[in-house]
């Protein structure tokens, strides 16, 4: 769900129309003392965001970009370091598992306090994860393998799984894995949305009004506060790219992201005011050809499509460098990625060659491609591709649509009603390549996310094997995934044009802004300091 919602939200960012509904929730019953009127704007970190910062503020169910807020308020047991590829302790100090990865034991920190002043114990972890599983919303499926959680001590928790699951990795996810105070667990989603929280993180919510979230530093945070840190943070929606840029230019805001390439280029000139930083992500663009329908079921035809896609133009001119051409389906930086996988290039002669080879008659041939509405970069490369395909005699019909419509079409009972090509933006829920394979490649009984309708028993065996061994034998899993990707490139099962790169514009007044690809769009404001 997250992918789709996020796709929509990204759509929203660029689709200037999708703007914040500035709700006017009262914050009368929000915790924490009233903000001091004496604080000057210099003490405030202002993150200008392209869409509404959250869908819900309920850490148990939020499966969208609300994690960018929640990540600063709640904490998980472990933390994934994308530089080293290792897990680091956060609320847990150490952890271990049995041989087959079915039993996991976590030791917890003993100095953790919730914002309401109560201390965190093993019971809180048990209750939080159980509640998530009980609600069964959002990314709760992550915990499907876990059958039992028990507190084996005041600060020790034991997870029992039905198969060997990487619980340590799952515990680092920014979805469905936050530890929440007991008082908050009993509350409704509405309660959270009113600006209340029950976290252990460095910030508490002071105010939440739909398009704006105000965070206030948690005075008793275990790591303490330095003078150059920001105790007030505002995250506010400004859907216009040019407006976000303006906010940075006037010095009002300190952080902004998802600006249009023109705005980024303009800001790059202003080195005295701002710095433009790019971060690799685990997000990539996927084009899923329909494997159940002529002509996209024909591998040669798919190769022809792949050779006609405008890779370089898209990266250089549409994304203006905010992307790199993918090697395989797993993004760079994540295990399972193999830089040696071959890439398709734009080569219309080769495309023609494969087209002839496929024996598909292009006379009157029309392909439909569905993608999320409102995203300008989609529109741009889709039109470029359309132009290329036209030269091959193929008519590409662009159908930007809302995700629900897109998904409905993809699930139509009559395969002839389904699209020929479908566009996805995909990223994993936690630092593992698994979801690309289990969700998109593995055959499904009823259509869910495998919208290329791939049904390859060989892939299925390899994937199931990799899933079972991921916790215990990662090398085995990795080699399985690489093997699948090799075949996928060969068969051209899925087109993966580019991995996304996020660009942040950061005011020269601050430093320490970093986007960890495992935690898409989250910034640790605690790490941001005044220069």
């Amino acid at each position: 769900m997250k992918k789709q919602i996020c796709a929509l939200l990204i759509a929203a960012l660029t689709a200037s129309l999708l703007t914040g509904c500035g709700g006017k929730n009262t914050e009368s019953d929000s915790p924490g003392e009233a903000p001091q009127a004496t604080a000057s704007s210099k003490d405030v970190l202002y993150h200008s965001y392209a869409s509404q910062p959250y869908v819900t503020l309920d850490p148990r169910v939020e499966y969208s970009n609300g994690v960018m807020v929640l990540h600063n308020i709640y904490e998980t047991l472990t933390h994934y370091n994308d530089q080293t590829g290792e897990l680091e302790p956060l609320l847990a100090t150490e952890w271990s598992s049995n041989e087959d990865g079915t039993e996991w034991t976590f030791k917890l920190r003993e100095d953790v306090k919730f914002h309401d002043g109560t201390a965190m114990t093993a019971a809180n972890v048990v209750n939080s994860i159980n509640k998530v599983k009980e609600l069964g919303q959002g990314a709760a499926y992550l915990w499907d393998a876990v059958t039992q959680i028990e507190a084996t001590g005041d600060y020790e928790v034991k997870f029992t799984c039905s198969y060997g699951a990487p619980v340590d990795l799952i515990s680092s996810a920014c979805y469905a894995s936050y530890i929440v105070s007991d008082a908050a667990l009993d509350q409704t989603t509405e309660w959270f949305n009113q600006g209340n929280d029950g976290g252990t993180g460095p910030y508490a919510i002071a105010q939440a009004t739909g398009d704006t979230v105000v965070l206030k530093g948690f005075e008793e945070y275990r790591d303490g506060w330095e003078d150059n840190q920001f105790k007030n943070v505002i995250i506010k929606e400004t859907p216009e790219s040019s407006a976000r840029r303006q906010l940075l230019e006037t010095g009002e805001a300190q952080i902004a992201s998802m600006l249009s390439s023109t705005d980024v280029n303009a800001l790059k000139e202003q080195t005295d005011k701002v710095t433009v930083e790019t971060f690799h992500t685990y997000t990539n663009l996927l084009i899923l050809p329909n494997h159940e329908k002529e002509p996209t079921s024909n591998p040669d035809f798919r190769r022809a499509l792949a050779y006609s896609f405008p890779y370089q133009e898209t990266i250089d001119n549409v994304l203006e460098g905010n992307g790199i051409q993918s090697h395989g389906i797993v993004t760079a930086g994540l295990w399972g990625h193999d830089e040696s996988l071959s890439q398709y290039t734009t080569d219309l002669d080769k495309a023609q060659e494969y087209l002839d080879k496929s024996g598909i008659d292009t006379e009157g041939l029309k392909l439909t491609i569905t993608y999320a509405t409102g995203l300008d970069e989609y529109n741009s490369w889709a039109q470029l591709w359309q132009v290329n395909l036209k030269k091959l005699g193929i008519d590409l019909e662009l159908q930007p649509m809302e995700w629900d419509s897109q998904w409905d079409k993809a699930k139509a009972t009559d395969p002839n009603d389904r699209q020929d090509l479908l566009v996805y933006m995909w990223w994993p829920d936690y630092a593992s390549p698994e979801s690309w394979f289990t969700s998109l490649i593995r055959s499904e009984e009823s259509i869910n996310f495998n919208l290329a309708y791939i049904n390859n028993p060989e892939y299925d065996t390899l994937i199931n094997d990799a899933v079972q061994s991921a916790a215990t034998n990662r090398d085995q899993a990795e080699s399985n995934y690489v093997e699948i990707q090799k075949q996928m490139v060969e068969n051209c099962d899925v087109l993966f044009p580019y991995d996304k790169i996020d660009t942040f514009i950061i005011s020269n007044e601050v430093e320490g802004v970093y986007e960890n690809p495992a935690y898409a769009s989250c910034i640790n404001y605690y790490n941001v300091t005044k220069k």
Partner: protein, 294 residues
């Protein structure tokens, strides 16, 4: 027929008279000339635009966002396509959509209105109640929700606008029909024994068509604006169709740095709609018997 040219004379005369009245107001004359140019440009667009391949066949992304110059009068867009060519071609899209929309609305609205006005009684009641219901949606809102739910495409937009537009014609024609029904030639036809249908479509409809034409010509502007609005909301035309509203919507991301992507299509909408409105205004004055009375 031997004297068919004679039958044209009064028409020509009445056209001359209309033109005379129109020419009295220089603003309207200007609008008329401009509109003729716009229509002509729209008709000839495929042959006269400098970069016809930029409509759908080609992109030159390396040349994107070139500022207006001699080669590209209105600059180039995000795919390096010539904005001038696309704006001119956009007139073709907008005008044909508007004609189609107004045409469909007229096809629904005029017969209903004529029947309601002429027959009166329960038929009138039922038709007008339905009309009232459709008129109770604020302008655009019904179209928005229809397209939003049916799925966005230019065809759906045309249908949705027509569905929310026809009641205006029904109401107008009904009013006309009621007053024309009172005219003696209708009563004469009735005493002659002419059938109801013939009375409605041969006597009443032709006589209430002038104000309908005026309204329809004014509405062309309104429809162009509405289509553009829907496209702007992402509920109308789709890329790469050079629809003005869509061009603004796309260009907005790059506004204000690449102002030409937004400003020119907007100007095109403004000028076209303005011409229609100015003319509609003038036409209303001309067709008003009070003005015509010599």
């Amino acid at each position: 027929m031997k004297n068919w040219t004679d039958s044209l004379k009064p028409k020509i005369r009445s056209m001359q008279e209309s033109f005379y009245l129109l020419a009295r107001n220089r603003l309207s004359l200007f609008a008329l000339v401009l509109l003729c140019v716009i229509v002509l440009l729209a008709i000839l667009a495929p042959w006269i635009i400098p970069y016809p391949q930029d409509i759908a066949d080609e992109a030159h992304i390396a040349d994107k966002f070139l500022a207006p110059s001699a080669a590209h009068w209105f600059g180039t867009d995000e795919l390096g396509r010539d904005v001038f060519s696309r704006v001119i071609y956009g007139g073709r899209v907008s005008l044909s959509t508007a004609i189609l929309t107004v045409g469909i609305s007229l096809l629904i609205g005029v017969p209903l209105g004529a029947v309601a006005g002429t027959l009166g009684g329960h038929v009138d009641n039922v038709i007008m109640r339905i009309t009232d219901i459709f008129l109770s949606f604020p302008p655009l809102l019904l179209a928005i929700s229809l397209v939003a739910i049916l799925g966005s495409s230019l065809t759906n937009a045309i249908l949705a606008i027509a569905i929310s537009w026809w009641p205006w014609y029904t109401r107008l024609v009904r009013g006309q029909a009621i007053s024309i029904k009172e005219r003696k030639f209708v009563q004469a036809a009735e005493t002659i024994g002419t059938g109801k249908l013939k009375i409605i479509f041969r006597h009443i409809v032709p006589n209430c068509i002038s104000p309908v034409i005026v309204q329809a010509s004014m509405d062309m502007g309104g429809v162009i604006l509405t289509v553009a609005s829907l496209s702007f909301l992402g509920l109308g035309a789709k890329a790469p169709t050079p629809e003005w509203g869509l061009m603004i919507s796309t260009g907005r991301t790059y506004f204000p740095d690449m102002w030409w992507c937004c400003i020119f299509p907007g100007l095109a909408i403004f000028i076209t709609v303005l011409c229609f409105n100015l003319l509609g205004d003038a036409a209303r004055e001309i067709l008003d018997p009070k003005t015509r009375k010599r």
